[in-house]
């Protein structure tokens, strides 16, 4: 089964280079091939949930360990990787299926699909690689294709957003690279498991603190945490809707949150200061994002600010787990906090992806995304409106939708871990989120029709509806993850791999 691991990168990469070549002979190549490829990858990643061994290691090029020292690049698939892979490929499938209809407005769709496949290849690579420099390369593949995709409309706003995104993204990449270089200087290794072994022998030092700060700044910029958030609302609201769904739904998780989790849990030893820093940044993002969001009148911009806020929840959960682990507190509470963070990450991918697809469908039909110009869409687009309602309830944390359970886990963990302020803020932010989405529904979907020639608006085309309705169903279905039977399959292995260093490093270097 470990021989299947490189296909996560090879398949989308082959798609990315085959589509521009063969589109000359068959015009619909990208349209047909991309969703099929993504569906295959989704099936592959779901298959890895029911695996027989906890961690799979694949030696690229056949370069195995020499005297217990890794000499080549290794691909590692453990519980956390599988969770991320399934989110990425699921959202990629729905977004690519959605774009079949959406791209009728654009020209040059073969480049769109090629870049889309390239971005998925990069994200899958970031998640499965066990080598730091390799992670940087895949990260760059993912973000460079996303720069191009943000500018895909080549109008004034797209170009401006893409330029901002590129400058800040390039800065983030260079900070990460500098961190990797200094770490290589210090340890003489690039393998994550090997570095953790070396660092454990050396103990803490000021240079280690410098590296950690570089990584937090770099990956924090990629994940758009609040002091570093300036590019996100522009980039995510200017991109084509399926790309917004991919960027907000999975890209900031794969290249930001996943990297921070992997490096800080599995590579560095947890320190109280760094854990507290992540916790505080998460809390500030959670509160700040929602206050910035509530004043917005642009549908996609509002959603983009909510992404910052919801990623704050994820960092809050993970940060609490890290703080509790670093002071040797109650392990059960830490497990609950980390599980809550991971669970909220899965949920956020689903409902934020759905909301961006909704906004894309609305924009496709009406030509605008300003809330004040919309209105009365629920009569014309009942299914879009229903799915958007489901997603809004999920993001605001209303039972029985999935967002409720993940927020509940985080809040319970905060109360039990005696982070009372964080718990109160989490509840408050949830209420403001609800208010903000009530505004969206009041102005966009209910109320009076503000278009004179409404007859020509109908429901969105089939490929859009299919993606939106299935994702809305998933918003309900994912609340099942709270039940222990399902949690043990999907969430618990990921939490275990984060909590126990040995789970990750044992199969790779044997120590």
């Amino acid at each position: 089964m470990s021989a299947l691991i490189p296909f996560f990168v090879i398949l989308p990469l082959a798609g990315a280079f085959a589509i521009p070549v063969f589109s000359g002979y068959w015009k619909n190549m990208g349209k047909v091939l991309t969703p099929i490829l993504m569906l295959m990858l989704l099936a592959l990643s779901v298959m890895f949930f029911f695996r027989d061994s906890a961690v799979f290691v694949y030696y690229v090029g056949g370069w195995e360990l020499i005297n217990g020292v890794p000499v080549g690049i290794q691909f590692v698939v453990d519980g956390l990787s599988v969770l991320m892979l399934s989110i990425i490929n699921m959202m990629a499938f729905f977004a690519s299926f959605f774009s079949i209809s959406y791209l009728k407005k654009f020209t040059g769709d073969k480049y769109f699909y090629a870049l889309f496949c390239l971005m998925v290849a990069g994200m899958n690579g970031v998640v499965i690689t066990g080598d730091l420099f390799n992670m940087f390369i895949f990260l760059e593949i993912a973000v460079i294709s996303s720069y191009a995709l943000v500018a895909f409309g080549i109008e004034r706003e797209e170009l401006e957003a893409s330029f901002k995104y590129q400058v800040l993204g390039g800065l983030a990449s260079l900070l990460v690279l500098l961190g990797i270089v200094v770490l290589y200087w210090k340890t003489g290794s690039l393998n994550i498991a090997d570095i953790s072994r070396v660092l454990k022998q050396e103990g803490s030092s000021p240079s280690l603190l410098f590296i950690q700060i570089l990584f937090i700044a770099g990956f924090g910029l990629k994940a758009a945490m609040i002091p570093f958030h300036a590019w996100l609302p522009d980039a995510h609201s200017s991109a084509p809707a399926p790309i917004s769904a991919m960027l907000s739904g999975v890209l900031i998780k794969a290249v930001g949150v996943y990297a921070i989790m992997r490096l800080f849990f599995n590579m560095f030893e947890l320190t109280y200061e760094m854990s507290m820093l992540i916790l505080v940044i998460g809390t500030i993002s959670m509160v700040g994002g929602v206050f910035l969001a509530i004043g917005q009148w642009d549908f996609k911009r509002l959603l983009a600010y909510h992404s910052i806020s919801q990623m704050g929840y994820v960092f809050l959960g993970l940060g609490m787990g890290m703080v509790i682990l670093s002071v040797n507190g109650n392990k059960a509470v830490a497990v609950m906090a980390i599980a809550g963070g991971l669970y909220h990450m899965v949920n956020h991918a689903v409902f934020k992806g759905l909301l961006f697809l909704n906004s894309g469908a609305v924009e496709y039909k009406t030509g605008t995304r300003m809330l004040k110009e919309l209105g009365g869409l629920s009569e014309n687009m009942p299914l879009t409106s229903t799915s958007s309602f489901g997603a809004s309830m999920a993001i605001s944390g209303i039972p029985p939708f999935n967002g409720f359970f993940s927020k509940l886990l985080i809040i319970i963990a905060a109360v039990q871990g005696q982070f009372y302020l964080m718990a109160a803020l989490a509840v408050l932010v949830s209420i403001i989120t609800l208010a903000s989405f009530m505004k969206v529904h009041r102005y966009a979907f209910s109320g009076n029709l503000r278009f004179k020639d409404l007859k020509k608006f109908g429901e969105a085309p089939f490929s859009m509806l299919f993606s939106m309705l299935v994702l809305a169903g998933l918003c309900l279905l994912l609340s099942l993850l709270i039940i222990p039977v399902f949690r043990d399959i999907f969430l618990t292995p990921a939490v275990n791999d984060l909590m126990n260093l040995l789970n990750y490093s044992q199969p790779i270097i044997g120590v």
């Binding site: 090879i10 990469l13 280079f17 521009p20 070549v21 690229v60 090029g61 056949g62």
Partner: protein, 144 residues
């Protein structure tokens, strides 16, 4: 785009071929000496860029060349993937498996598939750099 003066054209006529040959040398000796696909590919692309800069060309022709070099780039990458997949199918289920005989170190034909990869990467890099250059040139020409 218009070309440059006669002096530049004459010098380019003499140098262009030499630069191209030097690029080929770097690519094919990548497994024996410093250099390889990327370094040689940039030199080859430099030879072509020199020719376009010195002699100039009309925009329709440049567009067609750009399409061709872009296709060449994609095909080269695709061949790399196919070769990697052949390595996967022959033997130990590992991508980029070196399935050809290694030979003796120091010979030009040795090291299994590494020279082949070097040549493909050389084509890929040369085509990619030339495509980027042509894209900028065409962009500037359209503005006029």
């Amino acid at each position: 785009m218009t070309g440059m003066t006669n002096i530049v054209k004459t010098v380019t006529r003499i140098i262009g071929g030499v630069v191209f040959l030097f690029g080929l040398y770097i690519v094919t000796h990548g497994h024996l000496s410093p250099g390889g696909g990327f370094a040689g590919g940039t030199i080859i692309a430099g030879a072509f860029i020199l020719l376009v800069l010195a002699y100039g060309d009309n925009i329709m022709h440049l567009r067609r060349i750009k399409e061709e070099s872009s296709a060449l780039e994609n095909i080269a990458i695709f061949c790399i993937l196919i070769m990697a997949a052949v390595g996967f199918l022959l033997g130990t289920k590992v991508f980029f498996n070196n399935f050809l005989p290694i030979g003796t170190a120091g010979q030009l034909i040795s090291a299994g598939i590494i020279p082949l990869f070097n040549i493909l990467i050389g084509i890929e890099v040369a085509a990619a750099l030339f495509t980027i250059f042509l894209a900028f040139v065409i962009f500037k020409e359209e503005e006029k």
